[in-house]
Structure formats: structure tokens, C-alpha cells
Amino acid sequence: MIQRVNTDLKKDLLKLGVKDWNECFHCGNCTAICPLSENELLFPRKVIRQAQMGLETSLQANVSPWMCYYCGECSDTCPRDANPGELMMSLRRYLTSIYDWTGLSRLFYTNKYMEFAAIIGLAIIVILLFAIWGPPLDPSLTSEGGVKINSFAPIKWIELGDWSMAVVVGALLISNILHMFYKVIIKPGVKIPLTTYITELWKLPTHFATQAKFRKCDAKGKFYWGAHWLMMTGYTVMFTMIVVFLPEFQVEKVNDWWHWQRLLGYYSTFGLLFGLIFVIIGRIKQNNQIFKFSHLSDWLFIIMLFLTTISGIMLHLFRVGGMPYATYYTYIAHIAILIPMICIEVPFSKWSHLAYRPFAIYFAALKKEAKELEYKTNLSPEAA
């Protein structure tokens, strides 16, 4: 298949924050040093080459940027200071914007005003909804001494909101993943038997849950994997509790501290806080390759998550401390931060990697199988 060189791709990538575009001269040191690059999927050299040359189709079908967890070895080793690690990061932004069929992702990545406008707009909508509805600000406590949170924000409405948000966001995310599937598997014409789809499926949950590849990347004991895993599991647990177990969560009677709901909540909070502080300090101090370059989207993601976490902690403290007004206003603030964070970050921005990464690993495994199958067919006597 002949690929037309897209002479504008370079400009496009520059808009998405690619740094030091011209430096790479394809020596391959990055690929040699990368602990994750394997024979089946070599990176970063090849994908950099595709990006530099303007080979759009190949680039979009290439999942190797998702294989990278940005340990920074490549950038340390690069003889021309071409920052291959950061290029992989930028390419993840590019791929996210490509997978997103709505075009919003590209809009937010390339136009910070639009991104701010979307976040603030959504926050205002949340606040307005509360204002229009006018929840009862009951200052009295229940007989058990709890804040009357359920009359302030009745569970069924909040759950309805939760679920509708989850459905919308989920639908967007799933459609983006299907789009990714099209770009990675269908368009390049990779032929895979159905059974392979099933036999390789286990990789999805496994990699999602363990982030095993990141661990390999973090072999030098920099704790990134630990921090990242804590943050990821904390987030997931919290998200699941809020969406699925809201009735268990939003209770007026404060549970005992050993109650499973509270223990999980504390774990999530700890995980998120630990991870976030680690990352924020890193990004401020720029103490390693991974933190050397911070795109606006990187900052927005951690700040929003941090604010969500902090507001959640405060909400908890006010509730446990029996402070009704503080609880009610913090609740509104918390939701006003949470909703834009999820709606913007999950389908359109950095959060999406939580979904794209496992799928990339899954697709890569499929491609590898397809290649081996093709190789075997070519070797077989019938082919000869």
C-alpha cells in the first residue's frame, strides 16, 4: 500500500505540543534502551519516523505510544536531545485527538480558552442546576447526628445524574475505542481470527488492574508505578462507589470508621492524595524526564483531580463534623468540579489513557498474533 505523505502533519503535531521536532536522526538508541520495546513492537524510533515523515495512516495505526509509560530513559540516552519520551507523550495526545470522533479533544488540546470555557461552563451549569432546583438547606441534624444530605440532594436524583453522566461519558469513550479499533485494526487491514479476539481478551482487565508494563518500565525503583497504581486504584474505587454504591455512600448516619465503605473511602483518598502530591511536586520541580515538560492538559488533569479530592475530603470532614451549611456548599462545589473533570477529562483528554492503554495492549497482542499467523501461512507448503 502506498501512503501519501501528509506534509501538514508536522504542523499539526507541533500544535499538539511536540518538542524539538528536527533533532531525531533515527540512530535508534531510544529503542535500544527502552525496557518495554520488544521485537514485536519496537519503539520509539519507528513511530517517531512515521510522525516525522508525515505517514498519517501508519502513525494512527501504531499503538506503541500507549506502550510507553515515560520512564525517560530514551530521552536521557538520546544523543541529539530529541526528547523521544516527550514525543511519545505528545503522540498520545495526538492519538487521543484522532480516536475522538467528535473533534472536541482536538479542540481542547489545541485551544486552551475553549478547554477552560468548557470546564467553567459545565461548573456553572451544575451550580445553576442546584440554584434553580433550590435544595432545602436544613441546618438541623438527624437523630443520629448526621447532616441531612439526602434531603439536600436526594439520592435518586443524584444517582440519576450519576448514571446519565456515566452513560454519556461511557458511550463517548466506547465509541472512541471503537474508532481506535477501526484505525488500528480495520483500516490497516489486519486479519485476525475471531478466536484470537477471545483468547487475548484476558489481557484487557489484567493490564488495567496491574499496570504490569509500567512496573517493568519503573524497574529502577522510582516508585512511579506505585504512585500511579495507588492513584489509579483510588480513583477507580471512588468512581465505582459513587456511581454504583451511592446509597451506601451518601448516608446520613455516619458509619463507624471500620465500616467497609469508610475504609475504602479512606484508601481511595489516600491513594489519590499520595499520587497527586507526588506528581504535582514532580511537575513543579521537573525532577525527572517524565515531569520535564508539562502540557496544559497535564496540569489541568491533576489540578482538577486534586481539587475534586480536596473538596471530597472537606465534604467528608464537614459531614462527619456535623456542619450542615459547610456540607451543603462544599457538596455543590465538589459536584461542580467533579462533573467537568469527568466529562472533559474522561472522553476527551488525559484521563482517557486509562481506557486506551489496556486496549492498545490488547490490539498489539492481536496484531502480533496476526503477524505470526501470516508468517506461518507463508511458510506452509501450500503457500509455496
Binding site: 501519501r4 505523505v5 508536522k10 528536527n22 512515521q50
Partner: protein, 578 residues
């Protein structure tokens, strides 16, 4: 007749010979041949101690013939002849057996190689018995020099020589001096102006009192020999007889014509241009496409006509750096242009060149690699809907992808090839061409300036493609050699000539038309043929054509060659039953 006393020396050449030939065995066995007084082997015969050994033996053992069995006589025959001379022996009482280039380096069976070495040495021993003393001859040197070609090479040589006070005749085929260098804008790697450099030199040449320039002139025939050449050139209807002692050939080369390469569509697409055509654009100050627009996508294709079995296998040496120079010039002229370098290998040797590559590669220029041997890029016409005129289709090696690049200007980095009249010039001055029709130097390493014809030097691109500094270096090296001979005033010439034995010659005159140099004339009074040894170059053709055996080709006499054959076969036949 004095007793024949031969010294035989077998060289190890370090391990070069000894690895494949049992040199000690050869020395031992041949010491038994009649006439051989001593037979030795030694690590490096050509070294000072090696030569000293020969000299010592000649004196101690009263040797009057020497055989050295080592490398090719083309490399060290003169060295050993000098050694003989130092020992008071006539240098021609010497014969070399080539057991390195012809034995140890080309065979891989030690036993057979040793036997062959013995045969070759036996041949030399047999031959040297028939050798005779030949006397040195010298001729005076005419201080004038003929320089053929008025490019940077010829101009440099002419100026160097003229500045020392020697007259120079500078012959230029065209109407202008300057050659190819006058056709280019900037030079690599420092991007200096070529025009400024050459213009200054042209002006100095044209006004130099010692330089006589003949433009629009070609040399058809040159007679004579080192020190005493002459030629008649036609100018403005009159004939001028030039006399000169040395010749500098600086006829340059020409760019490869890519019309024959269908894949590049040169001649079909107006925006596919050669490097020299691009230079014209640069010199005019406007880099525009055929339609008069600034090109957005420029593809520079390397190695057009070079490094390919179907055109020229050699590297044209200057194109890579010129291509980088173009990229730099394009980048500064059209900052937004997409510039692609389609190359096979990037060759950036030489001072400042790797630096040029590094700095250029940081200027947003895309380097695309293709397979120059089997898979050349193809230029196609773009479809009407495309935003460009042409698409360059290629298999890009570094990405492994088959791609097509939109382009509105393609620069073909055409290779450099010998002029079609190189052959004629080689005949006129009597030098050889190599496989690519470039003039052949005397030795590629030890003597890259002189030729096998004494008094004729090759400089610049007519010898091989090279850049301006190398051309100037070679031109100055040649002039240094010429000035050396002029200062000496005379030079030794070939002693290996033909000679007629008047007692035998019957005057049949068969030899006269056979001589390519008209060196033989008929002496009517004596009724015999006479060889003019100053003209004779010693090819020996007349000796072979003489039916009476009256002509002897010195140093290649019938007896010498027949003894060599017999000596060789006497040993070699032992090989038959291995």
C-alpha cells in the same frame, strides 16, 4: 665472458607472502639452480636493512645478477634497481618475481602456492642470466608547460607554474576560462561564493605575462617525450608550433545526463531539474517553479547516475554535500518549504562536511533513504485533485514504508562522469583510462598525480570526481613535480628501447610502419633500419615484427623471455603431478 653469479632474495613481506608461501623452502631449493651463489629469505626486502643485505652480498660475494622475489615490480622494481646501483652494479642486472600479487594474495593452497613461487623465481633466475647492462640516458627539459583545460584545476596549475617564471601554454576548449566552478553559486561546506574565488583567479590568469592562453582550441596531436614535447595547434587559421617539457591534463568532467533514466522523468516534467540547473536558478537569485511560484515541497534526489550498476558504480563524491548546500539555501530562501533529501547513503567525509550535515539536519529537513541498487524512486504526475504537480514514489528504508511525496520541485543530484572526448585526449597525450574513462594515475596511493607516461600529469576531476580543495591540492602537487624537473634541467628517460643490429639487418623495412611512434627510419647509405632512441618508448612491437632477428627489444629480448619461459616450465612441470 665473466662468470654469472646470481643472488636470490625471497621476501616474506611480513606475513603477506610467508603466510601462503614457504619462503625458506623456496630459498633453499633455488639455491641449487646453476649460477645461483646465494639464496636468502628476509622479512622485508624493501626495507633499508633488506636493501643493505643485498648491497653487502653484492660486494662480499661478487654478485653480478640479483633476483628479488617479492611484490609486484610495479611497486618496488625501482627501489631494488637503486640498491644495485648503490652497490656499483648496473641496475638492469636485476629481475623481480612477483610472488605476492600473483601468488600469496591470490591462492589459498600453501603447497601449490609454494611450487608456483618456485617456478616464478626459477624463471627470474633463468632470465637474469641474459640481462645486460643498460646505460642511463638523460634529456634536457624544456621549461614550458602545456596545461590542457582552463577550469579551476588548470588555472591553479598554470598560475603556480607561471608564478615561478616558467612559461605556460593554457589550452581551453571553450570560449571562457573557469570550467564547472564558474557555473556554481556557493561552495560547500562553508557556503563561500564560488564565483568570487574563480573570478579572481581567471583575471590573474588572463593578465599573467607567463601564461599564453589559447581559447576555443583543442590539441589534436602531441609528439615527443618528457622534456621535449611539441604540438601544433591551430589558431585563427594559422598554425602555432608549441614546444614544452611537461603536460598537465586538467580536462575536468561533465554532469551525468539523467534523460535516460525513465523513473525520474527528466525532460518530461519541467520541474524536475538537475543540480546544475538549480545552480542557475540560485545564480539568478530566484528559486521558482516552472509556473513561477515559490515551491512548497522540494525533493532533492541523490545519487542520480552514481553508485548504480546500470550507470556508474563509483560515488561522484561531491553530490551529497552539494545537496545539503541546496537544502540550506532553500531553507533560507523559502523558510516554510518542506524540503526532502531522498538519499541512499549520506557521505560527509572531509573537513567541515559532517558539521554541515549535522547543522543541516537540524533545520527541519527530512531525510528519506532509498535502495540505490534495486529500488529507485519514481516520479509520477499527480492527479488533477492533488495540490502538487508531482508525486515521488519510493520505498523508504528507515520506516520500511512505501510512500509517495507530493512535490512541486525535484532536484536531481546528477553524478559526474568523464567527458566523451576523454578517450581522444588519452590517445593524444598517451595515457590510460580507467574503467570509468577517467585518466589513470601512475599509482592510486603512491603517485596519484603522475601518469604512466613520463612528463604527463593529471589533475582535478579528469582523474576522478573530487571537490575544489582536493582539485587545487592535486594541481599544486603536479606543479611541484614539474618545477622539480625544470629545476634539475634534465631528466632520465626510458632505457628500455629497441636497437637494430646493423650486422644482421637486411633492410627489408618491415619494422618501419610497425612503429607507433615513427621512431624507426631507413638509413639508405647503410641499407639498414635505425631506431631513434629518444622517440622509442620500448613497446617491443618492432622486435617481434623483425623477421631477421636484427631488432632487439632491450630488457625484453627473445633470449630473456625464452629463458624465462624455460625456467618457469622447468619448475612448473613438477607441479603437474600433485
Amino acid at each position: 665472458m665473466e662468470e654469472i653469479r646470481i643472488g636470490v632474495y625471497i621476501c616474506w613481506c611480513g606475513t603477506n607472502i610467508s603466510r601462503m608461501v614457504d619462503v625458506e623452502d623456496v630459498a633453499r631449493e633455488l639455491s641449487e639452480m646453476p649460477g645461483v651463489v646465494i639464496s636468502k629469505d628476509y622479512k622485508y626486502m624493501c626495507s633499508d636493512p633488506g636493501q643493505a643485505l643485498i648491497i653487502k652480498d653484492i660486494k662480499e660475494h661478487k654478485l653480478n645478477r640479483v633476483v628479488v622475489s617479492a611484490c609486484s615490480p610495479r611497486i618496488h622494481e625501482l627501489t631494488f634497481r637503486k640498491a644495485l646501483e648503490n652497490a656499483g652494479l648496473n641496475p638492469y642486472m636485476f629481475q623481480m618475481a612477483n610472488i605476492r600479487e600473483q601468488v600469496s594474495w591470490v591462492h589459498d593452497d600453501r603447497e601449490k602456492a609454494t611450487k608456483k613461487a618456485k617456478a616464478l623465481v626459477a624463471a627470474a633466475i633463468n632470465r637474469v642470466k641474459w640481462h645486460e647492462s643498460l646505460d642511463k640516458r638523460t634529456v634536457s627539459i624544456n621549461p614550458s608547460t602545456l596545461v590542457i583545460g582552463g577550469g579551476i584545476a588548470g588555472i591553479t596549475a598554470a598560475l603556480e607554474l607561471a608564478d615561478t617564471g616558467s612559461p605556460v601554454y593554457l589550452i581551453e576548449k571553450t570560449t571562457e576560462l573557469g570550467g564547472n566552478m564558474a557555473k556554481i553559486d556557493l561552495t560547500f561546506p562553508y557556503l563561500n561564493s564560488a564565483r568570487q574565488i574563480i573570478q579572481e583567479k581567471i583575471e590573474r590568469t588572463e593578465h599573467h605575462p607567463n601564461i599564453h592562453i589559447f581559447k576555443n582550441t583543442v590539441v589534436d596531436e602531441i609528439f615527443g617525450y618528457i622534456g621535449n614535447f611539441n604540438s601544433i595547434i591551430g589558431q585563427n587559421g594559422s598554425e602555432i608550433d608549441l614546444k614544452f617539457g611537461n603536460i598537465v591534463v586538467a580536462t575536468g568532467l561533465k554532469p551525468f545526463d539523467p534523460s535516460g533514466l525513465e523513473n525520474y522523468g527528466y525532460g518530461k516534467f519541467p520541474d524536475v531539474i538537475t543540480s546544475l540547473e538549480f545552480e542557475k536558478k540560485l545564480l539568478s537569485g530566484n528559486i521558482l517553479t516552472n509556473e513561477g511560484k515559490d515551491p512548497e515541497n522540494v525533493v532533492i534526489i541523490h545519487c542520480v547516475g552514481s553508485r548504480n550498476r546500470s550507470e556508474h558504480e563509483y560515488c561522484s563524491r561531491t553530490c551529497c554535500m552539494t545537496a545539503l548546500k541546496y537544502a540550506n539555501q532553500l531553507r533560507s530562501a523559502i523558510p516554510d518549504a518542506n524540503i526532502y533529501q531522498a538519499y541512499a547513503d549520506m557521505r560527509a567525509f572531509g573537513k567541515g562536511c559532517e558539521e554541515l550535515y549535522t547543522s543541516t539536519s537540524r533545520k527541519g529537513i527530512m531525510f528519506l533513504m532509498f535502495d540505490q541498487q534495486n529500488d529507485l524512486p519514481v516520479i509520477k504526475k499527480a492527479e488533477p485533485g492533488d495540490s502538487c504537480n508531482m508525486l515521488i514514489e519510493m520505498n523508504e528504508k528507515l520506516s520500511g514504508e512505501k510512500i509517495e511525496i507530493p512535490a512541486d520541485m525535484v532536484i536531481l543530484m546528477v553524478g559526474l562522469e568523464a567527458h566523451e572526448d576523454a578517450k581522444k585526449i588519452s590517445h593524444t597525450v598517451g595515457i590510460s583510462l580507467d574503467g570509468n574513462s577517467f585518466f589513470m594515475e601512475k599509482h592510486p596511493k603512491l603517485d596519484p598525480v603522475a601518469t604512466t607516461t613520463s612528463g604527463v600529469y593529471v589533475v582535478g576531476n579528469c582523474q576522478a570526481p573530487k571537490d575544489i580543495p582536493d582539485t587545487i591540492t592535486q594541481a599544486k602537487a603536479a606543479t611541484a613535480r614539474i618545477m622539480g624537473t625544470i629545476k634539475q634541467g634534465e631528466v632520465e628517460v626510458e632505457v628500455i628501447t629497441a636497437v637494430v643490429n646493423e650486422d644482421i639487418c637486411c633492410g627489408c623495412q618491415t619494422c618501419i610502419q610497425v612503429c607507433p611512434y615513427t621512431a624507426i627510419t631507413y638509413d639508405v647509405v647503410k641499407g639498414v633500419s635505425v631506431v631513434n632512441e629518444a622517440i622509442c618508448k620500448g613497446c617491443g612491437t618492432c622486435g617481434s615484427a623483425c623477421p631477421t632477428g636484427a631488432i632487439r627489444s632491450r630488457h625484453f629480448t627473445d633470449n630473456q623471455i625464452l629463458s624465462q619461459i624455460k625456467g618457469l616450465l622447468s619448475k612448473s612441470l613438477e607441479l603437474k603431478e600433485v
